[in-house]
């Protein structure tokens, strides 16, 4: 594996922590806010709190830092993130403003499942410490039962639909759902969740995977399908987000087909990765692609997938993509979102170059989660990262309900 500069990683992690503090707000509820830029569209007018997938990486990252350093203040920040979600959950189980680039609104996918992952990771950690995990576990369970299992799960076909009443399936979103289900099973001991939800969903994901040895797209997973019509767009980032769920499920069930699918997906990602460590935005059949924008901060999820696959013995090196992430670090601590928004559609999007530089919490969380395990504990002097203002982490006992 190529060497990664530990000082640069630690500096990036501390910088992100500092920057996250500046992105906290109080409208319409306490939490992490800010603008969002994305492939299809941006959300620049609504800049209030978003309870979406940003919480997944923030919570996981802070928990990793806590475990690596034993510094209680990192745990408190993970708890504070969990509190944002618990307080921001509506009576119907949804999290407020969970639609990321489509905010404001509720019912965002995979965002609400990603919130559940955050809550369940926190609950698992707190249980291990003998602390009260119940509010977090119950909030995740409420959302999973009220939304994912009651409204999106189509029992006759054992398929997780992407929208209530719409026969559609999106593998990367379904993978986030699988991660949440596996965590819920771990915390509740309900093994039937695996058989009923996780395995059929993972099977649907594998059914969308291209398996044509020698083809550039071999191992790639199609973006989505409506009914039987598969949308043959292949986004490396979203394919990477399928990998951890497949690997976890393989480890739990011993079924090698899930492991093989994950490794094939990783081989595809390694094949299309560019020499600088970045990845094209999307590939299509026939050798066509739209290269831009190339995610920078969001590539953290690619690093996470590569690391998981390497642990399985895959001959892949996350280092070039780690270096790609680190090149995006900016003086205020954020990591730039992308490179090439201005090149998506020549002439039309040329003025959109500013979007590259915008710091988006829901992209930076992915870099944070990927870099946290790589940072040397002795370089994580938390004191330098704590900022003044209304950012006092809340304790477990301060959960409002």
């Amino acid at each position: 594996m190529t060497a990664i500069d530990p000082a640069a990683v630690a500096s990036a992690v501390l910088g992100l922590d500092r920057w996250f503090e500046t992105m906290r707000g109080a409208w319409p509820r306490l939490g992490y806010g800010g603008p969002v830029v994305h492939w299809w569209n941006h959300c620049l007018t609504y800049r209030g709190t978003g309870l979406d997938w940003r919480y997944e990486g923030i919570t996981a990252g802070y928990l990793t830092l806590w475990r690596r350093t034993g510094d209680r203040r990192w745990l408190d920040k993970a708890v504070r993130a969990g509190n944002d979600l618990v307080v921001g959950q509506r009576a119907d189980g949804h999290f407020i403003n969970s639609r990321f680039e489509l905010n404001p609104g509720v019912g965002g996918t995979p965002h609400e499942a990603a919130c559940d992952v955050a809550l369940l990771l926190l609950a698992k950690e707190l249980r291990g410490l003998g602390l009260a995990e119940r509010p977090y576990l119950e909030a995740a369970r409420r959302n999973l039962e009220a939304f994912w299992l009651s409204r999106l799960w189509h029992a006759p076909s054992s398929t997780l639909w992407d929208a209530p009443g719409v026969p559609s399936f999106v593998p990367n979103k379904a993978a986030t759902f699988v991660e949440a289900i596996l965590l819920l099973r771990e915390l509740t001991g309900d093994d039937s969740l695996v058989e009923r939800y996780a395995i059929p969903t993972a099977e649907r994901i594998l059914a969308m995977q291209v398996r044509r040895p020698g083809d550039k797209l071999d191992g790639a997973i199609a973006q989505n399908r409506f009914g039987d019509r598969v949308v043959t767009s292949f986004f490396p980032l979203y394919i990477a987000r399928c990998v951890p769920a497949l690997v976890e499920l393989a480890a739990l069930t011993g079924e090698t087909r899930f492991r093989d699918g994950a490794l094939a997906a990783i081989a595809f990602i390694a094949r299309v990765r560019e020499p600088d460590g970045g990845l094209p935005q999307v590939l299509y059949p026939g050798g066509r692609s739209n290269r831009h924008p190339r995610w920078i901060s969001g590539a953290g999820d690619v690093v996470r997938a590569l690391a998981v696959a390497r642990d399985l013995g895959a001959d892949v090196d996350p280092a070039p993509t780690v270096a790609w992430l680190l090149r995006g670090v900016r003086p205020d601590g954020r990591i730039a979102t992308a490179e090439g928004f201005g090149r998506i559609v020549p002439w039309i999007t040329r003025r959109d170059r500013a979007s590259d530089e915008i710091g988006v919490v829901g992209w930076c969380d992915k870099a944070f989660r990927a870099l946290a395990p790589l940072a040397k504990p002795e370089l994580l002097n938390h004191a330098s990262a704590v900022t003044a203002g209304n950012t006092r982490p809340l304790g477990v006992a301060e959960v409002v309900r």
């Binding site: 409208w27 319409p28 509820r29 492939w39 299809w40 569209n41 620049l44 007018t45 609504y46 509506r90 949804h94 407020i96 403003n97 489509l102 404001p104 609104g105 509720v106 949308v231 043959t232 767009s233 999307v282 299509y284 066509r288 692609s289 739209n290 998506i344 559609v345 039309i348 999007t349 959109d352």
Partner: protein, 185 residues
């Protein structure tokens, strides 16, 4: 304490109306970024605005989102605001109706200019949303998808979204956001 109105989820709007709400925010914000005014109009639109930005009640501005003409006239007469921002439809919008999803909010057209003059207001800014460019890109997307070119179709879709706000206020557009100011003599 937040009111239920504020914490209510925004309805999912068609892209052109969502873009128009963004334009309304831009037109109605004061220099310090605050939006203060009396909001009236169709519930789906007013909720969308109030979910996007905090709106403080004030008589200095009326924000009329697809409001029936009589409601707008009444609000103007009773508050005599300094500024009025309206979201209205156009003849172009009506011509697109066969292509719209059923149940989409129907927007009234603007009051006649003579009526604005009589009320003592002059238009100071206008922005069109979903003009010809966005329509053409949308058509391009459909054609290219059918021709088996998802790569180009995806680019057309992005171009459609990025050109939702028309390049010039005088160009035809389905939705118009108009900004009026009280004329002082």
């Amino acid at each position: 304490m937040l009111s239920e109105r504020t914490s209510d989820p925004a309805p999912v709007l068609p892209v052109e109306l969502r873009a128009a709400i963004d334009v309304v925010v831009k037109h109605s914000q004061a220099a310090e970024g605050q939006t203060a005014g009396r909001v009236l109009g169709q519930r789906q639109l007013t909720r969308a605005l109030e979910s996007c930005v905090p709106v403080t009640e004030s008589n200095s501005m009326v924000i009329a989102l697809g409001a029936p003409p009589d409601a707008l006239r009444s609000a103007v007469a009773s508050t005599m605001p300094d500024r009025i921002v309206t979201m209205v439809g156009s003849r172009f919008d009506r011509s697109l109706k066969p292509f719209r999803a059923p149940g989409r909010v129907a927007l009234p057209t603007d009051l006649p200019r003579a009526e604005w003059d009589a009320m003592g207001y002059a238009r100071v800014a206008a922005t069109g949303v979903q003009g010809l460019a966005a329509i053409l890109w949308s058509m391009g997307e459909r054609v290219l998808r059918r021709l088996g070119r998802p790569d180009l179709a995806d680019r057309c879709r992005i171009a459609m979204l990025r050109t939702l706000v028309a390049a010039h206020p005088s160009l035809p557009a389905a939705v118009r956001v108009l900004h009026y100011q009280r004329v002082t003599t």
